[in-house]
């Protein structure tokens, strides 16, 4: 499953037909992706690579500046702030989301049970909640003066915390918002992954006298590893492109107080679509892409090593 490039178990057909169509069919089946990608994906990507070599602001004429955008970028404290914040949020949100999603999926993986069906839908609700609402909701829950969270903390004698204006707390609120919003989404990934584990394995394990907990550790977890890895990579890409949640929580792409909520995704947006610095924005995008590719490869390597 998952992220392999050379699955050893590729299908070796018993009946071989050296027919031209059998040779051609695979290419025809995957052609739509490449054709559409060539038309609408590759061109913009190459374009942005070129743009990153230009000083291009708003509607003014652009000038070729070579690697200057990258030079400025590597000296820009905002880049390092955004990188640090993004890594912080990545570590703080991706593992817990995956853990919760897997737990929920395993516990709720049962047909025809009203309560479980209802719970699955409830966990999925945040995913369908619009972003403006997410911002409003968390603004209210974590409001210093009348928020529910400070209200509860007051009962145990904690002084009101300005969650959305203190750098350390801001990241925590963002992480909580991400947990709330994305766990249900990843639960669906896990649920779908669980369906590919044949039930007879569990039956065999039961016959061998394995308990449910043992079955989880010995069967579910190892067999779900590719799905977990898949989810981790998708989430990593998502975190480095994260834009909407910090935007609504911290009142725009600037990252709020002390830029504590400035992420690579919002930095990119801010430069491209608030300042209209397209060349600089494209340079940011390519630096972020390089980081995502590196991190994904590390994850693949680690996933691979653990499996061996």
């Amino acid at each position: 499953m998952a992220t392999s490039v050379q699955p050893a178990q590729a299908w070796q057909p018993l009946v071989r037909r050296r027919h031209w169509w059998s040779t051609l069919a695979p290419y025809v089946f995957i052609a739509p992706f490449y054709l559409i990608f060539l038309a609408f994906g590759l061109l913009p990507i190459l374009f942005s690579l070129i743009v990153s070599l230009y000083d291009w602001r708003g509607t003014a004429p652009s000038t070729f500046v070579g690697l200057q955008n990258y030079q400025i970028l590597f000296q820009d404290p905002a880049l390092y702030k955004a990188l640090w914040n993004t890594v912080y949020v990545w570590i703080g949100s991706v593992p817990p989301i995956i853990l919760m999603a897997l737990t929920f999926a395993v516990l709720l993986n049962a047909q025809r049970q009203r309560l479980r069906s209802l719970l699955r839908t409830i966990y999925f609700l945040p995913v369908v909640t619009s972003l403006v609402i997410t911002g409003l909701i968390f603004g209210h829950l974590f409001s210093r003066s009348y928020g529910l969270v400070n209200g509860l903390l007051a009962h145990v004698g904690v002084a009101p915390i300005n969650w959305l204006a203190e750098p350390a707390w801001m990241k925590l609120v963002l992480i909580v918002a991400l947990l709330w919003r994305w766990t249900g989404n990843d639960m669906v990934i896990m649920l779908a992954g669980l369906q590919s584990i044949p039930p007879d394995i569990y039956e065999a394990a039961q016959v061998d006298g394995a308990t449910a907990v043992q079955a989880f550790w010995r069967i579910t977890l190892p067999l779900m590893r590719p799905v977990i890895l898949f989810d981790a990579i998708i989430s990593t890409i998502g975190t480095f492109n994260l834009f909407a949640e910090p935007f609504v929580l911290f009142g725009g792409p600037g990252g709020g107080m002390a830029q504590a909520g400035l992420l690579t995704g919002t930095l990119l947006y801010q430069n491209s679509f608030v300042y209209f610095k397209f060349g600089y924005g494209a340079a940011i995008a390519w630096v972020v892409a390089a980081i995502i590719i590196t991190l994904s490869m590390i994850q693949l390597r680690l996933g691979n090593r653990e499996a061996d």
Partner: protein, 447 residues
């Protein structure tokens, strides 16, 4: 079972680095080729070739709710003179208008004939807009100061204003009375900071006299205009950054005193301010642009009669007491095939009956002078029958010819970061402002 585990093991990630690098290399080589071929055609195709003036067609107008009501009211009148033109008014979201206008200008097609934009972003679009100087100059007297001037940049005129946004201070008269604060005693920002002590003591901290955000530049902008900088962060010819000028160090010293006051709600977030104002926990709204009363009437109608408007305090006693925010202007993209006709529609919509209809529908402070002259004699019941329109006009009249320079939004964000460190006591005032100035200069390539 064995087969399953085998598959999983095998299935795990044999994506080798070499394969990955190969793919990346192919991509970058082809990119390089393309770059070599296309450097002649620079990415920015500003403006786009304008088609010859059309004899008929559609005039498309983009704006957001609160800006386009005047146009909608004038379609019939416009069609009497221009029966061959159809008018298509589109109400988009605020951000949406700005993003789409940019895309259309850059792409060379798809722009509307008239577009509402926030004037603070004018310079970002300027190379794609029509210079309206000759068409507009005869209407200068019809617009209250400084609304006509702010539609121009470096001698060219780009758009008439839909509204005017002078700034004052809103305060709860009942609460000020209760805590013994009188409007006439508040002359400087420092007076306000001092008055906080009374409120803090009498309310035992339950009520704040005012609120402030450390990382926003709204108050700094008010103080900059008061200190004589009509370009807010920039000098009058938009070549130099002035945020660390001695006058601004003086102003920020006053801000710091305000921040350190005894009765301040510091760094409220999101809609906390609206809630606290509505529930009587904050007695004063320091950043009070002319559109703000819409929040009062919409969100807190029950407080009618309790609010008042006063001029912003001065930095030094006897100094200017002014402030001005960012109105909306109607611009005409160069792409428009019917620029003159578009101008006629814009003019109809922002003068005379168009301006009246916009005001009736939205209640925003008009930029159209004859209308404001009529309104200023009318007391406003929400403000305890105060003549707020008269005061707005007076503040506007005292405002110098302000403008919004290149990189305004970026300067706002950079300054906000440094201001926050200054107010929270992490950086001394002069060092902090100098650091802000240096960062703005380098990122905006200004002096």
């Amino acid at each position: 079972m064995k087969q399953m585990t085998d598959r999983v093991d095998a299935g795990l990630n044999r994506l080798s680095r070499r394969q990955f690098l190969q793919a990346a290399l192919v991509t970058s080589v082809s990119a390089g080729l393309l770059a070599a071929c296309s450097t002649g055609a620079a990415p920015a195709t500003s403006g786009g070739a304008a088609a010859p003036a059309a004899q008929g067609g559609t005039i498309t107008v983009w704006g957001w709710a609160g800006t386009i009501e005047g146009v909608q009211s004038q379609i019939a009148a416009f069609n009497k003179t221009y029966p061959d033109f159809k008018v298509d008014v589109k109400a988009l979201g605020y951000e949406d208008v700005h993003t789409n206008l940019l895309n259309s200008i850059v792409a060379g097609s798809g722009a509307p004939d008239i577009c509402a934009i926030d004037v603070l972003r004018l310079t970002q679009y300027i190379d794609g807009l029509v210079d309206l100087s000759d068409l507009a100059k005869q209407y200068k007297d019809q617009f209250v100061p400084p609304t006509f001037d702010l539609g121009s940049y470096k001698g060219k005129f780009y758009g008439l204003a839909t509204d005017s946004e002078p700034m004052g201070v809103f305060y709860r008269k009942d609460l000020w009375d209760q805590y013994g604060i009188k409007e006439e005693d508040i002359n400087t920002w420092s007076d306000l900071a001092t008055a906080g002590a009374k409120v803090n003591e009498a309310s035992q901290g339950a009520v704040a006299l005012y609120h402030m955000n450390s990382n926003t530049t709204g108050l700094f902008e008010v103080l900059a205009v008061e200190q004589g900088f009509s370009g807010y962060f920039f000098n009058t010819d938009d070549t130099k950054v002035i945020v660390d000028d001695p006058k601004m160090i003086e102003a920020v010293t006053a801000l710091k005193q305000l921040w350190d006051g005894k009765s301040v709600q510091r760094d409220p977030q999101g809609d906390e301010v609206t809630t606290l104002l509505k529930n009587g926990k904050i007695a004063t709204q320091l950043i009070g642009p002319a559109w703000y009363p819409m929040t009062f009437t919409g969100q807190m109608p029950e407080l009618a009669g309790k609010w008042r408007l006063m001029r912003a305090p001065a930095v030094t006693k006897g100094g200017p007491r002014i402030g001005y925010q960012y109105p909306t202007i109607f611009v005409i993209p160069q792409q428009s095939p019917a620029k003159e006709t578009a101008w006629e529609l814009a003019r109809l919509s922002l003068l005379g009956d168009g301006a009246r209809a916009l005001y009736e529908k939205t209640k925003v402070l008009p930029a159209y002078k004859p209308l404001l002259d009529e309104l200023k004699t009318k007391p406003d019941p929400y403000f305890g029958n105060q003549n707020i329109y008269e005061l707005w006009q007076a503040i506007g009249n005292d405002t110098p010819p302000i403008f919004f320079g290149v990189g305004f939004t970026e300067a706002q964000a950079i300054l906000g970061n440094h201001l926050q460190a200054i107010l929270r006591g992490e950086t001394p005032i002069d060092a902090g402002l100098q650091a802000a100035g240096a960062e703005i200069r380098s990122k905006l390539k200004k002096g």
